[in-house]
Structure formats: C-alpha cells, structure tokens
C-alpha cells in the first residue's frame, strides 16, 4: 500500500493486485506507457470561461483514470513549474498548460524546461510574453520576473548545492550564491522578443500577437530581442548578435548543465512523492540518477522517478518517514478507498479542497501551495517533526480535513461525487462494531488494521447510538481523522 500511496492517487484493490502480480518495476513501466487522462476541450470563450470543468475532469481522472503515475507526475511538475488559475482564471488559458504537463510527465528535464519556458500560460503568468529589449522600448529595462523564477524556483535554486542536496559551504559555514542580481538582469535580456502564438485563422500583424494559449510562444519581430552580449552563471558568456531562439537554447543548455539541478530536482521529487525528511544519501542517489540515467543521459525524468520510488529508503517504515498528506492527496486517496464515482463533466471537489487550503491549480503564488522552506530546517536549535506540507495544516484547515471525512461519511461531497458505503452500512446495521472499524481500517491503513488501543477508544462512540448510519459515520471519521493524515 505504501508504494501505491507514493506512485498513485491511492491504492485500490485492482492496483494492489496489479503490483502484486507484475512487480513494482513492471508496474511502473506499464504506468508510464499509459496516457489516458484528458481535459475538456475549452469552449468558445464567448460561451464560457469557467475553469471548473477542467478541475472536475482533474478529480475524475485522479479517482478513476488508469494513468495514475502520469497524473501524479503532472501534478508534481505543476507544483514546480507553477502557473495559477488565480492569475489565469479562464479554462482557455489553463487547459493547454495542464495538457503539456501530462504530455511531458516523463520527458527529459531539459525538454520540460523548454516547453514550460515557451508555454503561453507561463509567459503570461510570469511576464515573459511580450518582454522586450530596452533598446526597442525607450530604454525601459526588460522584465525580470520569469528570469528570476526560472533560476530560483524551477532549476538551480539560490544557493550552490552539494550532490546530496545540502548547501555547499566554506570553512566558516558561509554558503555560495548560485547567481547574482546581474545574472537575473542579463537572463531577462536573453528572454526578450517573444510573443503569443498566432491565433488560428487570424492574420498576424505587428510585433505582438493577442493572447492565445495553445502551442508555444514565438518571435514576431527580431528587433524586440536584446542582441547584446550577456554574462550568465560562473562567467558563461552569450556573445552579441544572436537571435532570441538561439540565445534561448544556449541559456537553457547552460542552466541545465548546472550541477545544482540534480540535487534540486531530487529533493523536490522525494519530498513530493515519498518523505519530508529524507536522508542525504537518498537525495544523493536520486540526484546521481538525474545526472546520469545509467546510459549517460542527464535529466531523464522517467529514470529519476523510478529512482525515487524504487529506492530502498522509499519503503522505510521508521517513525519519521512519510509526509503529511496535502489536502488533494488526502481527499483523492479517501475517494479511491471508498470506491467513489466522480462525474468527469462536473463536480465540486475543487470547493471541498479549497476548504482544506488547496484549491486545485489555483495556488496562492508562484511558490505553489506551500513554501518548501516550511519546517524543513532545524530552527532555533530544535528539530521540528514537520515538513513543508504542515504550512497548510492550520487550525481551520485541520478542522476542514476532519469535516471532509464527515461529509464523506454522509456521502455528501456535492453533486457529481458518490462514495460506496454499502458494505460498511451493513456491518453497522448488524452492530458488528469492531468489524466495522476494521473494515474502515482495511481500506485506509498501511497494515490494514486498527490498533487494539484505538478500537477501545472508538467503541464507546459507536455504542452510544443505535442508528446504523450514525454508527457507520462515527467509524469512518474516527479512523480517518486521527490515523489517515500522514502518508506512510
């Protein structure tokens, strides 16, 4: 079950059986070959721009789709290469971006860097679109937004890393910045000259295309690109006189080659899929796979994912292993455990998750749903039993998670979502209280059973009423809320 919590949206009887018969390695291969989850074709914007159909499809895919690993990886990539519907609220803006994440879930990281950099949604979100040279713009400086976040959040990170993800330091413990403000300003100059792709059927004119989110950004007017020489990291020079397209390739190759990428990506992968508190040697092993997949290829994300999930530490069971479930992981794993059917066309799981602090594809800002720094360092001399996800575990969100389980136990998650509680209700009707608790535990807990101490603490509540639906609801919530918050 632990492996399927890491590699899917949550185990089902079918997926447990698939792993058992195929073995983990073959199961991952089979998963990577699947690409079955789609998003609705955005309607004409004059008819509707509502984003909810895409969110609804996302949840239906997650609960019912076969390509679980691809979906998980796409959602991971979304949390790194953030575009938020908070800024791009229209389905026409978001769906092409979401499809790109699925398409490139197992691509090379260098390819992902390029498709995300040229994604019109990203161009809009972080202002690379229509970013132009100072010379073509009355001396106004190019926009630094995308250049900075490309380095800081998507690839290198601000400080030089060791291969095991720790900061490189000198003898006094001082860290080394991976780049300077000058790097950011020069990279912003590299990234000038791009505009939206052409709207199909429209005649292009001038240097700026109107907002269009399918395909990749393009250069309309070479004059909008800053052709001067630039200096990037570690003294790397881009000579004067090159095109926007040529400079983009050089800059992405240069960034991709930075030794930080392996540990940067490895740390994020492990945090997202496996554990908030990995050993440095685990990070190192995954980073080495990023550097070389065994065939001399750097950035092979299928290999990196495989290294993350099949590492011996991934199946660790010590007490600090695992991660607090993000609301999306928590809610979807529960839906799968309780045999939910989710309407692909329309459901309200976006609202249920918003209540818990994670509205799908609408993170607060480019730092995603929570800041990675939260709880991952030893502050004030104290070791925090924590993890980045705890940034979302506020007072009110902790309550909302309990209330989600309560709604689920009423099969009241909004139209378009139904759970199958019939087996549990039968047990409640026949007053088999312990069997009822164990039936819930069978669906949710890694070893399939509830500890005797927990049974003893839960039973008085179950025995306090004879109304079977209430007994069943108590059983569901009393196992879920105290024992299902953390992914093992």
């Amino acid at each position: 079950m632990q492996f399927l919590y890491q590699s899917s949206w949550g185990p089902t009887e079918a997926s447990i059986e698939a792993v058992r018969t195929q073995g983990r390695d073959a199961y991952l291969n089979a998963q990577m070959a699947l690409n079955t989850s789609g998003y609705p074709e955005p309607p004409d914007p004059t008819i509707s721009t509502s984003f909810r159909p895409a969110q609804s499809a996302f949840f239906a895919n997650a609960v019912q789709g076969d390509d679980q690993l691809r979906q998980r990886m796409a959602f991971f990539l979304h949390q790194v290469w953030v575009v938020s519907a908070r800024s791009l609220p229209r389905i026409q803006q978001m769906v092409p971006y979401m499809r790109t994440l699925h398409e490139h879930a197992f691509s090379n990281y260098r390819t992902i860097m390029e498709v995300m950099t040229l994604s019109p949604a990203m161009g809009d979100y972080l202002d690379m679109v229509n970013n132009r040279s100072a010379a073509s713009n009355g001396g106004r400086a190019p926009n630094e937004n995308y250049a900075r976040e490309l380095l800081q959040l998507f690839t290198v990170g601000p400080l030089v890393l060791n291969i095991d993800g720790s900061y490189k330091t000198d003898r006094k413990g001082n860290t080394f910045p991976a780049y300077t403000e000058d790097t950011v300003m020069d990279l912003a100059r590299v990234l000038t000259g791009w505009t939206y792709p052409a709207t199909p059927g429209a005649t292009e004119s001038g240097c700026i295309n109107p907002g269009w989110y399918e395909g990749q950004m393009k250069v309309r007017c070479a004059s909008r690109h800053d052709t001067g020489a630039k200096v990037l990291m570690n003294g790397y020079r881009i000579p004067a006189g090159l095109t926007a397209e040529a400079e983009l390739q050089l800059a992405l190759d240069h960034i991709f080659a930075h030794p930080n990428l392996g540990p940067f990506v490895a740390t994020r992968m492990i945090h997202h899929f496996v554990t908030s508190n990995p050993s440095t040697s685990y990070v190192k092993r995954v980073a080495q796979t990023f550097n070389d997949n065994g065939s001399g290829v750097r950035g092979d994300m299928a290999a990196v994912l495989r290294a993350t999930l099949l590492d011996r530490e991934a199946s660790n069971t010590d007490s600090m292993h695992g991660r607090l479930r993000e609301p999306m992981h928590y809610s979807i794993a529960l839906l799968r455990a309780f045999g939910a059917t989710v309407d692909w066309n329309l459901n309200y799981m976006d609202l249920r998750n918003r209540d818990m602090g994670q509205e799908p594809y609408k993170p607060e800002d480019v730092f995603s749903y929570f800041h990675l720094a939260h709880g991952t360092f030893h502050g004030d001399g104290m070791m925090m039993a924590d993890g980045p996800e705890f940034a979302l575990h506020t007072v009110t969100n902790s309550l909302a998670r309990a209330d989600f389980a309560w709604r689920l136990s009423h099969d009241n998650l909004g139209s378009g979502v139904n759970v199958d509680l019939s087996e549990l209700l039968t047990l409640a009707e026949s007053q088999q209280h312990e069997a009822l608790l164990q039936a819930v535990a069978w669906r949710l807990l890694p070893n399939g059973s509830l500890a005797a101490e927990d049974v003893a603490l839960a039973l008085p509540a179950l025995r306090s009423t004879t109304f079977a639906p209430t007994v069943m609801r108590y059983a569901i919530q009393l196992v879920t809320t105290p024992r299902f918050q953390v992914q093992p």
Partner: protein, 451 residues
C-alpha cells in the same frame, strides 16, 4: 462616533457583569485584571512586494522632478496622490511634500488626525550598509535579496543570515506570555495562513481564516460521544511524530473552539460595517477577538492579516490601485470599529511586505523586485508624521544597489519591529532576544509610539 463609543462602553460593562455569572471563577479573575490593560499589534502583510515608491509619492522639489523622470504615464501618481504633509528630505536637503496613493482615501483622513506614521526605506539588514560596502561586497548583507520567499521569511523572522523557525511576532508573544492567561486563547493569531512571523519558540499561533468555525461538523450541543472518542484518539501517541503533530493541531483547535464559544456568549456585533472583501473579513475577525480579549484571557496580542497580488511586474497601476483600495476600506472600517470598542489607542497596525520594487519601471508598465520600502503605522497611539530617510530618486543614485533604483534600506527591519515590540510591552533588555541583530543599529526606537 462619540455617542456610539460611549454606548458601546456601557454595553460592554453591562455585558461583562452578565458574563460573570456564566464564566468560571478563574476567568472572572483574569477578566478583572484585563479591564483597561490591553494592547495588540496587527501586521498587515502586502504579499508580493508592494511598490512603495507609489505608496508615498513626492509632490514637490527635486524629488518630484526625479520621480517624474522615471515614473511616467500610468505610473506617475503626482496629480492624483492625496497630499498629507511634508518632511525634510535629507538626500536633497529640501523640504518635500508627499502624498499617499490615491486609493488611500480613508488613510489620508486618518493621517490628518495624526494617527498615521510613514517610515521611509525600511528593509532587512544585518547592520547598516553603505552603497560602497554593498557594491564592493564588503559589508554583511541579508542572504538571497530580491527573492520573494527568502525576503518574506527574513522580514518575519528577523534572521537575515540564518534559518529561523520562529518569527519576531512569535518571540514577542513568548516574552509577554505572563500577560496572557495560561491555556487561554493563543496570543498570536493569523487570519492568513501560517506565517513564520507568529511562530514562537514556545508557542504556536492560532491560524484561522475569516468567517471560521472551531467546532467539528456534526457536533451536538450536549454531550457528544463522537467528539469524546475523537479527542481520545487524537491524544493517543502512536509513536509517529508526524501523526502526533497533525493530531495535536486538531486537538488544540477543539480546545480553542471551546474557549471561543464561551467568550462569544459575551459578544456584541460590530457596530461598523466591514467591506465584504477577504481582507475586510480578516480585519473584522481581528476586531472581534480584540473585543473579546477580556473573555479570552488575552492582554497582549499580535495579529497577522495579509493581502496578496502586489508582485506587479506588468500593468501595475490598475492592480495596485485595486489592492490598496481594498486595504484602505478594510483599515478604515477597522479603525472605526476600534474607536467604537474604545480600543483605538490599544491597537497599532503596521504594514510589511516582501520588499520594495525597482524605482525604474520595466518595459511592461510594471516594476521588479527590489529591497528597501516605505511602510505605514496606524493607530490611536501613533505619533503621526514622517520617519526615516527617503532615498534620492535616481536609478543609479547614492541609495541604489544597481542601475535600476533598488533602495538600500536606511532603517533596519529590526528597528521598525523593536519600536513596535517595545510599545507592546517587551522589556528593553529582552528586545535583543526578539531581534538578534538589534545591537548593530544606532537606535532601537523610531519614536513613533509613546514609551
């Protein structure tokens, strides 16, 4: 307003008497101690990095000319800014009149009443640093300048060169814990996420959202067997620290809910209509907790509210005007409600942000990440006016890190925070523990609040 004020005070006293019949003895005693001795800080965080060069706009002299040379078109606010007064600009050696951003209508009226202070060019600093030191790399400077996440964290934890899991607001409440009833409502309360500002070394903040409830859905008014079993299960230590931590949060929540439910028996509805925006609702709920302080056992509190979206890399003018408009409406309602409660002098609100923005706009009518920024402090106790030194408005001038007008702060975040902390009640000798770098600065008191 005056009549309203005294009516509220009367009602509050009357209700206090009634509450005595329903509250346990300990709470009564705590309540009696609390009456009349209450103070709170409210941090209003402008996430994304507010462009403070358009928060406070120079309207006269060389400063205005220099402003107009860079801030053109929609980014030139000189004709619409709301004049509030003048200050000696040390960099130009002349008196300069200033105006507030045109959206800050309510604040400019509060300014006229002497309740608003503007502090110029505040930022994260290890110690004061000159332009030469900055450009030569000779003076210690904060790590990872210009990065949102790092500067947000450093502004909140006052630890610009080392990670810190606690924030200066949380450390303040640690030091003032004796003012607050043990086991009572948390002294540090956020209505916007889980900010490091409020993380104490010995205490956790209440992390709420506007319009919150603190009872489990399906809770019975009388004895609730489900809740009893739930709390027993949450409290059982299964030996897994992550599980324990998650469960403790919900246990704390349920206890907090009971405290609040009792206190709310004494509640009066706000007399002021708050705006329906999220930031309006955050301020409304802060005002409620302030109003209930006597029943919650809180005498010294730090609150956190925030508004995001200030990362205006393109088409800044409309976005900033809209956001500051929301801030102004919410703050104005909040100050009105505090007046009605009789708490106007007991509560000081202050702004913070990731950083300021480049004085030189970029090519998209926006601005990019910078460093020092001007901030506002609002409240009945505030000595209104201008504090600190405004920068010389030249993109490559004496106050800029580089050629785009990123201001090197001339007032340390620690000085700003220590001024607020001292007013709240942190002892002089303890300020250094709240702000570890405070001794690097010539003064820990900006003088904008009474002793």
């Amino acid at each position: 307003m005056k009549n309203l004020h005294s009516r509220r005070r009367f009602l509050k006293q009357a209700m206090g008497g009634m509450a005595a019949m329903t509250l346990p003895l300990g709470s009564m005693r705590a309540m009696a101690q609390h009456m009349g001795d209450y103070r709170a800080l409210v941090c209003l965080y402008l996430y994304g990095g507010n462009d403070s060069d358009n928060l406070i706009v120079p309207l006269s002299g060389t400063a205005s000319e220099h402003y107009g040379a860079q801030r053109t078109g929609s980014l030139d606010l000189r004709s619409t800014a709301l004049p509030v007064g003048s200050a000696l600009h040390a960099g130009y050696g002349e008196q300069v009149s200033f105006g507030l951003h045109p959206s800050l209508v309510g604040l400019s009226s509060l300014w006229a009443q002497g309740k608003v202070a503007a502090v110029a060019n505040v930022g994260t600093l290890v110690q004061p640093i000159s332009q030469t030191q900055y450009r030569n790399g000779t003076g210690p400077r904060p790590d990872r300048l210009f990065s949102h996440s790092d500067q947000q964290a450093q502004s909140q934890n006052a630890s610009p060169n080392a990670p810190s899991a606690s924030g200066w607001g949380g450390r303040i409440t640690d030091h003032l814990h004796h003012y607050n009833m043990a086991g009572g409502f948390p002294a540090a309360t956020s209505f916007s996420g889980n900010p490091v500002l409020l993380a104490g070394m010995h205490s956790e903040a209440a992390t709420l959202k506007p319009g919150y409830s603190l009872a489990l859905a399906g809770t019975y008014a009388t004895i609730d067997h489900r809740n009893q079993a739930m709390e027993a299960l949450l409290a059982r230590d299964t030996g897994q620290p992550l599980v324990t931590r998650a469960n403790q949060k919900l246990l704390d929540t349920l206890a907090m809910g009971r405290t609040l439910e009792q206190a709310r028996l004494n509640a009066l509805p706000p007399t002021v209509q708050f705006p329906t925006t999220n930031i309006g609702a955050q301020f409304r709920d802060v005002a409620e907790l302030i109003n209930l302080n006597a029943y919650l056992g809180t005498r010294r509190q730090v609150f956190f509210v925030s508004l995001g979206g200030f990362d205006t890399h393109s088409n800044q003018a409309a976005t900033q005007a809209r956001l500051l408009g929301q801030v102004d409406e919410a703050l104005t309602a909040f100050q009105g409600e505090l007046m009605a409660q009789g708490n106007a002098h007991a509560v000081t609100t202050f702004t913070m942000s990731d950083f300021g923005r480049t004085f030189q706009p970029n090519g998209n009518f926006g601005t990019d990440h910078a460093w020092g920024a001007h901030h506002l402090v609002i409240g009945g106790a505030v000595n209104g006016g201008f504090y600190g030194q405004f920068p010389v408005l030249q993109t490559d001038g004496p106050d800029s890190t580089d050629q785009r007008g990123r201001w090197i702060p001339t007032t340390g975040l620690d000085q700003y925070g220590a001024t607020l902390a001292r007013w709240l009640g942190v002892a002089e000798m303890d300020l250094g523990m709240v702000f570890p770098n405070l001794n690097n600065f010539p003064s820990s008191n900006l003088g904008l609040l009474p002793a």
